[in-house]
């Protein structure tokens, strides 16, 4: 049975029902995930230690017993409450290295999508997470954090270097600026909406 009780609100206003929606911010070390989460979060960004289950690879699969190991990963956490829309967006900044693949399943379940935060000096750091999102069908966009004005590349060069499909949006951003981060999240939400309609058109 689900226990539900509306949130207490000001007298005369309808009770707020808040549903949570996860958005992942994934990128390599030092690319600006914490900065990006902090720029738009309504609370000071927190570090959350999450235990994640790692299905071990290479064990005897025919026996039908999947040995699992648990690992603790530190995530950046921030939130945006869209009260009028009954939503709380939960932003999770997660490391994008290949060895953290196992945890994305836990995070990606029920998530709206992912922002792959890329650094043009280390574009190769973005390959694992892009591959993961493509395989899983998780909506994602690439946001290029342009914190160094001398290292700016046109979006089509970034697209070519990442071998990204034309359909995946690339957004240049400054992870320190709230308006810039807002534009990134809007681009992700627009992409998720567009994908929904594209898939519906395909299935009809």
């Amino acid at each position: 049975m689900t226990v539900y009780e509306p949130l207490a609100t000001e007298p005369g206003t309808p009770p707020a029902r808040l549903a949570a929606m996860k958005i992942l911010i994934v990128g390599g070390y030092g690319v600006g995930k914490t900065t990006l989460v902090g720029a738009i979060s309504e609370i000071d960004p927190l570090t959350t230690e999450a235990d994640v289950t790692q299905a071990s690879i290479g064990h005897d699969r025919t026996a039908g017993t999947e040995a699992k190991a648990t690992t603790t990963v530190a995530l950046d956490f921030g939130r945006i409450t869209l009260r009028a829309h009954g939503l709380q967006l939960l932003l999770f900044g997660a490391p994008g290295q290949q060895r953290f693949w196992f945890m994305w399943d836990d995070l990606a379940t029920g998530a709206l999508g992912a922002v792959v935060l890329a650094d043009t000096r280390r574009l190769e750091d973005s390959f694992p997470v892009i591959e993961y999102c493509e395989q899983r069908g998780l909506p994602f966009i690439v946001a290029v954090n342009e914190f160094d004005p001398h290292l700016r590349y046109p979006a089509d060069e970034v697209r070519a270097a990442l071998a990204l499909a034309e359909t995946v949006p690339i957004q240049m951003c400054d992870a320190r600026k709230p308006a810039s981060v807002q534009a990134v999240l809007i681009a992700l939400a627009e992409h998720a909406v567009a994908l929904y309609y594209a898939q519906r058109a395909l299935s009809q």
Partner: protein
Amino acid sequence: MERDTSWSWNDDGIGRLRLYSLTGGRTTPTRQLDLAALVHASSGDPPPLDGEGEQIHALCRVEARSIAELAGLLRQPATVIKILVADLLDSGALVHATPDFSADPTDIDILERVLDGLRALSH
């Protein structure tokens, strides 16, 4: 007999002992909770609480908070917070902020609400 020096007491071990005592030795919550599960305090008088349970309840009186946020605020692993929050839900001290726990990312109504909400943010 040679003394085994390959291990020693350290902060790491003490940390684990502390976590173990917080949850009464349990390692799994009484119900499944996602990192994104939002909870808030129920309006009635809470049952007697202590320690972290009381802190969680106090935080959730102010507004709805997710497991991830509570874990960050209390500086405890999310697994420990899940166990404590599940107990508080069981006792009625906390309730879920939504009947369906989390929004469905394949629901176009939700996606469009997210988009509208983000566009309406003023930065």
